[in-house]
Amino acid sequence: MSLEELAFLALALVAVGTAAAALLVRELVHTILWVAIFFVDLSAIYFLLDAPFLGVLQLGVYAGAVTILLLFGIMTTRKRIFSREAVTGIGSVPVALALVTFIFLVSAIGEFPQSETPIQSYDPTALSANLFGVNGPWLLLLGLIMLAGVAGAIYLVREGRD
């Protein structure tokens, strides 16, 4: 087993463990801490896949901004941020549905052939040329959706709606 495989195995275990812990712990602030570790762990996986730009983006946007936004959401919606979440019964139907989806996705893995090439790494210049060239329309769409998101968010939180 090579070093990369070992690193991936460790990172994958941490990812699954932290994602599960984030949804199973009862204190919301602990959830945020687990999910922050999950995001940092995924960025490490991106670095392992030789995608440093995405790794840094993951750290900045997810581990940085999204975590803080979620924490801010908790702080503004409750008086004591360390209060516990009420227990919600975990029904057997959602668990079964999630398991069926997981098994369905795993069963499709065999369709993909094992790649024979080494990891392809890209230079950030080539990535930005691709992002603003061939995939330019997607970036434009992202800009428009973000604008619509900002307008919608302001509409939702404004005071004195009628």
Binding site: L23, L28, Y46, V66, T77, V106, N135, L141
Partner: protein, 105 residues
């Protein structure tokens, strides 16, 4: 033969998607719901990054570009979700989605 197998990565993202789906179906707190959606979305982005590193066809660069765009989409979605959380909290005094049947005053 590469060191990082397609089975491991697709298995990881299938597991993460399953965990996210489980959270979406069971949690009643809006913030936990948002976190579940983020976990499922990250599972999808991981696939794009994996197939960019080991492209089945000619160029995998588009995979990374689309992953960049998807990260932006996810961030927008969290921002709008938190606006809904704040509006819901002001109107109902709770962020339990089971009790949120309308957003108007």
């Amino acid at each position: 033969m590469t060191d990082l197998s397609v089975t491991g990565f697709l298995g990881l993202s299938a597991a993460l998607f399953g965990i996210g789906l489980f959270g979406i179906l069971t949690r009643r707190n809006f913030i936990l719901l948002l976190i579940s959606i983020e976990i499922a979305m990250n599972a999808a982005i991981l696939n794009f990054v994996y197939f960019a590193a080991f492209p089945p066809g000619s160029s995998g660069l588009s995979g990374q570009s689309i992953a960049v765009v998807l990260v932006g989409f996810a961030a927008t979605e969290v921002a709008v979700g938190l606006a809904i959380v704040l509006a819901l909290n002001r109107l109902k005094g709770t962020i339990n989605v089971a009790r949120a049947n309308e957003l108007r005053e």
